[in-house]
């Protein structure tokens, strides 16, 4: 009887230890998976930050050209910004989902600026020049803001690890 009990207890202990080990291994695997997922998210967020930072740089150049009245350079920069912004929205759609409507509005602005500038700078009225300066300033602010937001998110998540 005593031997049978001992055998039962040993069996149960081995089973419990196995379960604990399995749970521990599972937890470790889940933790590793979570860590890998977080790392992957951080990398994608960092890429979004780099891309939007580069967009903000183009927007800054565009704004500068408009300030200096260099409209043919501004037109070229508008075209660059349009295509780069479209690519960034497609690539980082998940991260910019909350800002999508605002970014679409900026894309419309850029399309209308391209059209307006295609008519030649001499056709622009003084109010259009002022408006162009304001709109390009707003585009710069929006893109720089997004880049900063991504940087802050990456910094927060990295420091919390």
């Amino acid at each position: 009887m005593a031997i049978h009990d001992l055998f039962d207890w040993t069996n149960a202990s081995v089973g419990a230890a196995g379960l604990v080990l399995t749970v521990f291994a599972l937890l470790q695997a889940t933790g590793a998976k979570k860590a890998a997922q977080q790392a992957s998210k951080n990398i994608r967020q960092h890429n979004a930050e780099v891309d939007f930072n580069s967009l903000a740089r183009i927007a800054k150049e565009l704004h500068g050209y408009v300030e200096d009245g260099r409209m043919s350079e501004a037109r070229l920069r508008t075209t660059d910004l349009r295509s780069e912004l479209a690519t960034a929205i497609r690539t980082h759609g998940r991260f910019v989902a909350n800002e999508l409507s605002r970014l679409r509005e900026r894309q419309i602005d850029l399309k209308l600026i391209t059209e307006g500038l295609n008519g030649g700078p001499e056709t622009l009225s003084s109010t259009e020049r002022i408006r162009l300066l304001r709109i390009t300033g707003e585009i710069l602010e929006a893109l720089a803001g997004l880049s900063g937001q991504f940087r802050s998110q990456v910094d927060t998540e990295v420091s919390s690890v």
């Binding site: 679409r104 209308l112 259009e128």
Partner: protein, 118 residues
């Protein structure tokens, strides 16, 4: 295409009056734009001199509809002709969009109050 555009202009007029659409100034003089929620479609309306323009843009900023009508285009048209109706509709929508985008009514009330307080 005029009749199709006219239908959209009518709908935009209704939604704007109901306060469901938000218009903002665009680059050119007399040009206003609105982006539908989600950003899939945008509308642009413009009155520059006697040229009335209506644009519908998709999410890639391609012009799905692009109507430009001058006063001269409508002068020989009979009443209720789609082109004439669209010309008038664009004019009405642009005026409404302008009022909303520039917050004309609020500013007029503010001006009256300021003048009254002097």
């Amino acid at each position: 295409m005029s009749e199709r555009s006219q239908g959209f202009v009518k709908q935009l007029l209704e939604k704007t009056r109901e306060g469901k659409l938000s218009w903002t100034t665009a680059f050119e003089d007399g040009q206003f734009k609105t982006v539908l929620p989600g950003g899939q479609l945008a509308f642009v309306v413009q009155v520059k001199g006697d040229v009335h323009r209506f644009l519908m843009l998709d999410e890639k900023q391609e012009a799905v509809l692009d109507e430009t009508i001058t006063k001269a285009d409508t002068e020989r048209e009979p009443a209720h002709h789609p082109k004439l109706m669209l010309y008038l509709g664009i004019g009405e929508l642009q005026a409404l969009a302008r009022t909303q985008a520039l917050q004309v009514n609020d500013k007029l009330v503010q001006a009256e109050q300021l003048l009254g307080s002097i």
